[in-house]
């Protein structure tokens, strides 16, 4: 009597009493808008199959109707989108992994207008015209049609799902962790290994990509372990592991990448299976695990057989049908034909028969299969055709019959006969899952006896166990897992004796079997649609075509045909492609080799990789203590390296140009206040501090008096300007060094490098003090009048404190280093105070400045003021190829020192070349014309393209002070060109400019020395 529920049943394929789904918890979901019922514990695929739905997708290139062939992460066909809307729809998930919940919405992909009637299917009729390489060969002409016409059309008609377009509302987490033994895979071998490794005392992590531990045992009804049915043994073992405090267990967690030095990445999916997840729970968590030892227990994947129509809905792997029946309680058809090259399919036949599925025939490619299972099947009355093959599966959106034919002596195929069926199962043998082993850089080795590749010598601290290393007998697998766990723990330093459990195992005896390549066919025609790589629509004839067109390396064949390159990473296709290539090339498989397995093992969302690093956390701002004040004054900000800096302070109605002009004039006329906190600062201290400075900087430091400052210029060893900044000598053995905002870390690094690795004779300490000092610049003719009353009795008169001097004191009781320096060309001070007190000091200065109409200014005004004075900005005027002399700073280079970093390079002949680019000023003929920074300079406006470039504009502004535009430029032999007219060719015009001194304002420096 059939156990299959008939018309009365809510779902066609559900088998009462079978499976691990919770039949007391029905859930409703939609697929392509139609509502279906499933049970808690179902995958989308199992629930649809239970409803008699096999058609779940359209193929990539030919738009052929497709159903699931597998029940796990190796699924190439049943690719769907889950969720809806521009933010929430996740494309390219496999229905065999998506767990159903109440309210799930899923859509099929790559079809228009609908799955049952897809216009793109005309590609299928045209398939003889579009073999591998078709796009490369056909759409090459005319050249510009590729990007504009062909590619967009091809992309729309081929391809997978649609990427979401709106920001992802979910959040993702990231975590580093360590363990002694990481076990990848929670099947029988993985469970056994985790158990013994944990009992040896190791910290164990055990991860499985599915919702439950157990692997193959969850669909194995035949085996008994330690007197228990396999699934009950799983429950007992999982419960035992859960009690151990040194075991962390992860389901729905894929070990997807095996990196160098045993760094392994796991992706844990926390909420995708829930209908109402806690919003505080991240959707996914990416784990980066540094494991002392890794046990790979990734199992084996059943191989499809390659024959015409092997992609039709209703054709699936035998183990998949067994999984749907025993794990999900779903019969995938009513009348099955089983095509096999392996003994395990006979057990599937017996399981299906017991559940009421008719077995029309088993067709075995092997001439003389003989095993206990074979005899059991015969005894059960199943028709077994040996030494026979599948010629073709008939049916479009679901198969209705299959042609079976005998293999004749000599390898040809005889007349076939059609057998009615709605389910055709394929059992091509097992492919050990080598992805993680291969990612760990281990070399795979061909095993002739098993006709497959197995893990070779380990390249890292890992070992493979169970069927991923070619063991298929359950007793052997469990024993191997136990041993692997003990050995891994031992190698991780846990040497204690472990009592190995003595499990008695009874299971089917599985003999040798398996087939790789394409099944034999009648005749030699190449027209059949026999698929090797389902997801990329690669057929057996495509692989043969690649060989015929001259491709010899398997890596080239892979790229030409795209076999194994889809999101399933060739899990079901690699060995068959290899088999076909091997026979087409007439070379044995071991001489051809496998293509490299790439991470990730299965697709990982971008969300998991970005983790918390999005939005404000993507690139956090560094903010100065003055930032809130600037915001309260309506400052416009800009990013300078990591810092957020006030660019200008617009008053109502002002644009940037107007604000900057006002700010500039205010500084020149009275006084301005500027936040210079972002300057890099380094404290150089020690008995040899001056000698160290002598060696690092081009300037001389020995004679710099305490309390004095000097403009310091630093080169790399190659003689090119690296950084600059004012340096104050605080004491004989103590320098307060400033650097550019962006250069602080690099300068300290370079100093440390020389100090630690070259000049260990020097007694010097370096400390980054960038975060210890906030800097308030007060610049302008009234600067002294503003500050003098605030600095607690310090004499800051010109006589006592001239330009380029530094003094320590207090400001309102707060410790201060006061520098008299200027980057504006005006009388100026820089007040250095601890950041915690900086805002308070700033506000005090601001109050004191009110009678002088003190004006806050930003980086834009700072730039204009310094350009008017011809002060360079490293990285703007210089570009890593400018010497100090090129940048107009030759005066800073000490002639007396025997050596400093860069000195020898500056003596090279190329550095003396009079045609080197040199810093000059430029005046446009039209005073209001502002050049574009980066614009090129040429000698003649009549040059033909390509013109001979002789320089470029580095800085360009409108100067309110001068009432005209100014520019700085690096020009070949520039200093010898004073007064010359050069030209700036632009798209729509040519702008004549006159070469002039780079100092546009107060050339004699009178305004500094007051």
């Amino acid at each position: 009597m059939s156990l299959l529920s008939r018309a009365s049943g809510r779902t066609l394929g559900r088998v009462p009493g079978r499976g691990r789904v919770n039949t007391r918890r029905p859930v409703r979901f939609t697929f392509d808008g139609r509502s279906f019922e499933g049970f808690e514990g179902d995958t989308l695929a199992s629930a649809l199959l239970a409803n008699g739905v096999h058609l779940m997708g359209r193929s990539f290139k030919y738009h052929r109707p497709r159903g699931p062939i597998s029940a796990g992460s190796d699924e190439p066909n049943a690719v769907v989108a889950v969720g809806s809307g521009p933010a929430l729809q996740t494309p390219n998930l496999v229905a065999t992994q998506v767990e159903v919940y109440d309210g799930l919405t899923a859509q099929s992909q790559n079809r228009f207008p609908c799955l049952q009637f897809d216009m793109g299917a005309v590609n299928n009729l045209a398939s003889p015209l579009i073999p591998s390489g078709f796009y490369y060969k056909t759409f090459m002409w005319p050249r510009n049609f590729w990007t504009k016409v062909y590619e967009p059309i091809i992309r729309r008609s081929a391809g997978l799902g649609v990427a979401p377009t709106a920001p992802d509302p979910d959040h993702y987490a990231f975590q580093y962790t360590f363990c002694d033994v990481l076990v990848a895979g929670g099947g029988p071998a993985g469970l056994a290994a985790a158990l013994t490794a944990a009992k040896a005392g190791a910290e164990v992590m055990l991860a499985d990509e599915t919702a439950e531990f157990g692997g193959s045992l969850l669909f194995d009804r035949a085996s008994r372990i330690d007197g228990l049915p396999a699934s009950e043994w799983v429950e007992r073992t999982v419960a035992e592991l859960k009690k151990l405090p040194n075991v962390r267990m992860f389901t729905r967690t894929t070990v997807f990448n095996y990196g160098p030095h045993n760094m392994v990445a796991l992706n844990e999916r926390l909420t995708d299976h829930l209908s109402a997840p806690n919003p505080a729970t991240p959707r996914e968590r990416l784990w980066q695990v540094r494991a002392k030892q890794v046990v790979i227990a990734s199992g084996a994947i059943e191989r499809p057989l390659v024959f015409e129509g092997n992609d039709r809905p209703g054709v699936m792997l035998a183990s998949a049908a067994q999984t749907y029946l025993n794990r999900y309680g779903v019969a995938c058809g009513r009348r099955a034909v089983i095509a096999t090259a392996d003994d395990s399919a006979y057990r599937v036949a017996l399981d299906l028969l017991e559940a009421g599925v008719k077995i029309a025939a088993i067709v075995d490619i092997r001439p003389k299969p003989d095993s206990e299972l074979f005899r059991k099947a015969k005894a059960a009355g199943i028709t077994v055709l040996t030494n026979s093959t599948v010629q073709r599966a008939h049916g479009s959106q679901r198969i209705h019959s299959v042609e079976l034919a005998p293999v004749l002596p000599g390898g040809d195929v005889g007349e076939g006969k059609n057998h009615r069926c709605d389910l055709l199962l394929m059992a091509g043998g097992w492919t050990p899952s080598l992805h993680l082993f291969s990612q760990s850089k281990g070399k795979v080795v061909y095993n002739a006896e098993l006709d497959t590749y197995l893990p070779g010598e380990s390249a890292q601290a890992e070992r493979s166990t169970g069927s991923c290393r070619g063991l298929y007998d359950l007793g052997e697998v469990l024993a191997d897992g136990l041993k692997a766990g003990v050995a891994a723990a031992k190698d991780a330093g846990f040497e204690g004796e472990v009592d190995l459990p003595l499990w008695e195992v009874t299971s089917d005896a599985i003999g040798r079997g398996g087939f790789t390549g394409a099944l034999p066919r009648r005749g030699k025609g190449l027209t059949a649609m026999a698929f090797v790589d389902y997801q990329n629509d690669v057929t057996a004839k495509d692989v043969k075509l690649a060989v015929r067109e001259g491709f010899r390396s398997i890596e080239h064949i892979k790229r030409y045909t795209t076999t194994g390159m889809a999101t399933d990473q060739g899990k079901t296709s690699n060995l068959n492609a290899l088999g076909i290539a091997s026979s087409a090339l007439g070379r044995p498989k071991q001489q051809i080799g496998l293509t490299t397995f790439r991470a990730p093992y299965t697709p990982v969302t971008f969300g998991a990789f970005s983790g918390h690093e999005r939005g404000d956390l993507f690139d956090p701002d560094r903010r100065t203590p003055i930032d809130p004040w600037a915001r309260s004054k309506g400052a416009v900000f800009e990013d300078v390296s990591l810092w957020r800096r006030a660019r200008y302070f617009p008053q109502p109605g002002e644009d940037m140009d107007a604000a900057v002009a006002r700010e500039c004039l205010a500084v020149r006329k009275s006084v301005g206040i500027f936040d210079a906190t972002t300057l890099g600062k380094i404290e150089v201290v020690g008995p040899d501090a001056a000698e160290f400075m002598n060696r690092m900087y081009v300037n001389g430091w020995t004679k710099l008096g305490v309390g004095k400052c000097r403009y310091g210029l630093m080169c790399r060893e190659n003689g090119f300007v690296y950084d600059d900044g004012v340096v104050g000598r605080i004491a004989k053995d103590r320098f307060h060094v400033t650097t550019t905002t962006g250069g602080a870390a690099g300068v300290l690094n370079m100093m440390e490098d020389y100090l630690q690795t070259e000049w260990q004779d020097l007694n010097v300490w370096l400390t980054s003090t960038s975060e210890e000092w906030a800097v308030i610049a007060v610049q302008g003719p009234k600067a002294r009048e503003v500050l003098a009353p605030l600095v607690d009795g310090l004499d800051i008169s010109h006589a006592t404190m001239p330009h380029m001097s530094v003094v320590e004191g207090t400001i309102g009781g707060i410790p201060m280093r006061l520098f008299r320096v200027s980057f504006s060309g005006e009388l100026g001070f820089e007040v250095n105070v601890p950041p915690s007190r900086a805002l308070e000091v700033w506000e005090r200065i601001w109050e004191a400045g009110k009678p002088y109409d003190m004006t806050p200014y930003g980086t834009e005004t700072m730039h204009v003021l310094r350009a008017e004075k011809g002060y360079i900005i490293v990285g703007q005027e210089t570009d890593g190829t400018a010497t100090p002399a090129d940048a107009g700073c030759g005066w800073a280079v000490s002639k007396l020192k025997k050596d400093f970093v860069g000195k020898r390079s500056l003596a090279l002949p190329a550095m003396q070349d009079p045609d080197r680019y040199q810093l000059v000023g430029l005046y446009t003929e039209a005073p209001q014309e502002v050049l574009e920074e980066g614009a090129q300079l040429v000698a003649s406006p009549n040059e033909v393209i390509p013109m001979n470039k002789i320089g470029h504009v580095t800085s360009s502004y409108h100067s309110a002070t001068l009432g005209r535009s100014i520019a700085l430029a690096m020009v070949s032999g520039g200093r010898a060109r004073m007064g010359q007219t050069l030209y700036v060719p632009m798209e729509d015009k040519v702008i004549p400019v006159t070469v002039t001194s780079p100092v546009f304002y107060d050339a004699e420096g009178a305004r500094l020395n007051v």
Partner: protein
């Protein structure tokens, strides 16, 4: 991600370090006495071996100290790390074979 043994701090993840190029290239004591050719050799010429290289590393996000390491460029396996100033250690054939594995 590589695991690198800082001689001062122990094993740390690669993200804490920055690579400082080839090791054991001493800055000449008196650069001005060198010919242009000799100076260019010091400044620009570096080995690019397929195999063992002695190179400088800095524990940038740790103790901030430089140290030297011998690494196989083909496998990224480290043979040894050692302090600045120490001579390049001898690598036994067994060590080299292990690093190349």
């Amino acid at each position: 991600m590589l695991l690198i043994r800082c001689p001062y701090c122990g094993e740390r993840a690669e993200v804490e370090f920055s690579n400082g190029g080839e090791a054991h290239i001493d800055r000449p004591r008196d650069p001005m006495s060198l010919t242009d050719e000799e100076w260019a050799q010091f400044l620009y010429m570096r080995d690019n071996p397929k195999g063992l290289i002695a190179e400088r590393w800095r524990h940038a996000h740790g103790c901030n100290r430089f140290f030297n390491a011998i690494r196989d460029t083909r496998t990224d396996r480290f043979v040894v790390t050692y302090e600045i100033g120490q001579p390049r250690p001898e690598v036994t054939p067994e060590q080299a074979a292990e690093a190349a594995r």
